[in-house]
Amino acid sequence: MSMNSPLVAEQATVNVIMLKVLAALLPAIAVYVFFFGPAILVSILLASVAALLTEAAVLHLRRYPLRVYLLDGSALVTAWLLALSIPPLAPWWLVVVGTVFAILVAKHLYGGLGNNLFNPAMVGFAALMISFPSHMTHWPAPDMLAQSHWSFTQQMDFMFGGEFPAGDRLDAITMATPLDTLKTQLHLDREISEIQSGKIFSILSGKGTEIIALFYLLGGLFLWQQRIISWHIPASFLAAMFGTAGLFYLFDPGHYASPMFHLFAGGTMLGAFFIATDYVTSPTTPMGKLIFGAGIGVSAYVIRVLGGYPDGVAFAVLFLNSAVPLIDAYTQPRVFGHAGKWFKGGKE
């Protein structure tokens, strides 16, 4: 061991940070189970196992010490975020393929922990969304709205064997998400107010989903209080999305949903507090974080409203991920003892 100073340090470690992130997700997961049933727990478990196995295999190949790196918790965070982003009743292989892709391609092919340019969970999500779009749009209806109720065994039969209960069909338990509904109904020349009177909509966004979003928000505030994340990215993300949505809403409330709806619909809250704030794939400078968050907010809204997919958070995050080195380079803060703002290449 080197005796060179400094010899003292805080005992905080990477895995403590990761465990706190997981802990912050727990309340939202509990609410998720309350509204959509326990299938999500199976998804999370499946993703966790797949992530750890893939991680272990790659670590072994790269001759990393297994114990330290498996316990760092980063693979679990990726697995949980991915599982929470895909429909809970998705077939088992979908979860596994997405997780393996996330860990193998997005994380380790880029160099492993700390070196990946893109958020692994979102890369996994994007790969699934592009490859299996129909599976990725089968979202279950909240319990109170579903036409029929499947028992847990029936759900498992479906997840692992693709079998429906006799005489039932997928439509009976799934329905479009609020964002998807909004998008498809707008195609039918309906007004927002008319669409939002539909049974899936509630005060803020969708029934059930808005409560989950609220708990993501609370979990995020916990992380902020714990100094795991700074306020910059979530605040600028939400503000930018609110602002953009508000602008469109003011311009034409008949065809653009209210800004509050956008804040609580889809992946906004999960994205703002848990995904965009991923250390490795976000800028490190305060100004960079603000630009990054705002960029995601605006592009997520634009993709949502004008793009080909119902939600845009994942693609917006990936898009801005690619800009992180650039953002970091151009937002270097002033250094002690140097005059004025310092940007890259500026020779003062």
């Binding site: 292989w93 393929v97 391609v105 092919l109 790969a127 592009i130 490859s131 299996f132 779009p133």
Partner: protein, 229 residues
């Protein structure tokens, strides 16, 4: 030109300086067309023809081409060849022509073709130049075939799909279903799959090369040790 040199030309074209995974020139058709083996090989063969003949003609004409206008002349030669192949494909294998679509004319600006004309054909005799063009093109074709195969298996679970476009409806039975009841991993077929696949191919080649040199080095070291002893 000795035999050893031909061996070098062949080795260079097929492996050491493979156009697709080492030189990384002309990626546009490489990535866009390699969605299946048949597509990849189709464009590959067209490139082989263009490269062999363009190299041959450039070599033949090299003493008459002033340095200053060599690039326009090479491009002219390549463009003529490509257009001839484009028209012929349209006339005789139209279904394949429809699939390869705009990529055939793109061979004109494929840097590999111009690159070999400049780097090799302008300095060497006709026959070696043709061999070089042929081998570099073949190397590209191999890359396209392997990449196409990878993407096809992963994306569709089949091999040789679309072979009927080139050989008529009876060739449909040649299509191999590698994975039955496959859901289709669409990502592999779409452009990102091409980039990931190409990255894996490059990694694979580097790995093979490293393993080879790692095996050679200890052997040399032990030789030196025995010589010293």
């Amino acid at each position: 030109m000795s035999e050893a040199n031909y061996r070098e030309i062949i080795w260079n074209g097929l492996w050491k300086n493979n156009a697709g995974i080492v030189a990384l020139l002309g990626l546009c058709p490489l990535l866009a067309v390699s969605t299946s083996v048949v597509n990849g090989v189709g464009l590959g063969i067209a490139t082989v023809l263009v490269m062999a003949f363009s190299n041959g003609i450039v070599s033949l004409a090299r003493s008459w081409i002033p340095r200053e206008i060599r690039i326009p002349v090479y491009i002219l030669i390549i463009a003529v060849l490509v257009t001839i192949i484009d028209l012929s494909m349209n006339a005789f294998v139209q279904p394949l022509y429809l699939v390869l679509g705009i990529f055939v004319p793109l061979i004109v600006v494929n840097c590999n073709v111009l690159g070999r004309a400049e780097a090799f054909a302008s300095k060497n005799a006709v026959f070696p130049s043709m061999v070089d063009g042929f081998m570099v093109g073949l190397g590209l074709t191999l890359t396209l075939a392997v990449l196409g195969g990878m993407r096809e298996i992963l994306g569709k679970g089949t091999l040789l799909s679309g072979i009927d476009l080139a050989f008529g409806a009876s060739a449909k039975s040649w299509i191999i279903t590698v994975i039955p009841d496959y859901h289709g991993f669409l990502l592999a077929i779409l452009p990102p799959g091409a980039f990931i696949g190409l990255g894996l191919l490059i990694a694979g080649k580097n790995w093979l090369d490293q393993r080879k040199s790692a095996r050679v080095e200890p052997a040399q070291a032990s030789q030196a040790a025995t010589a010293a002893a």
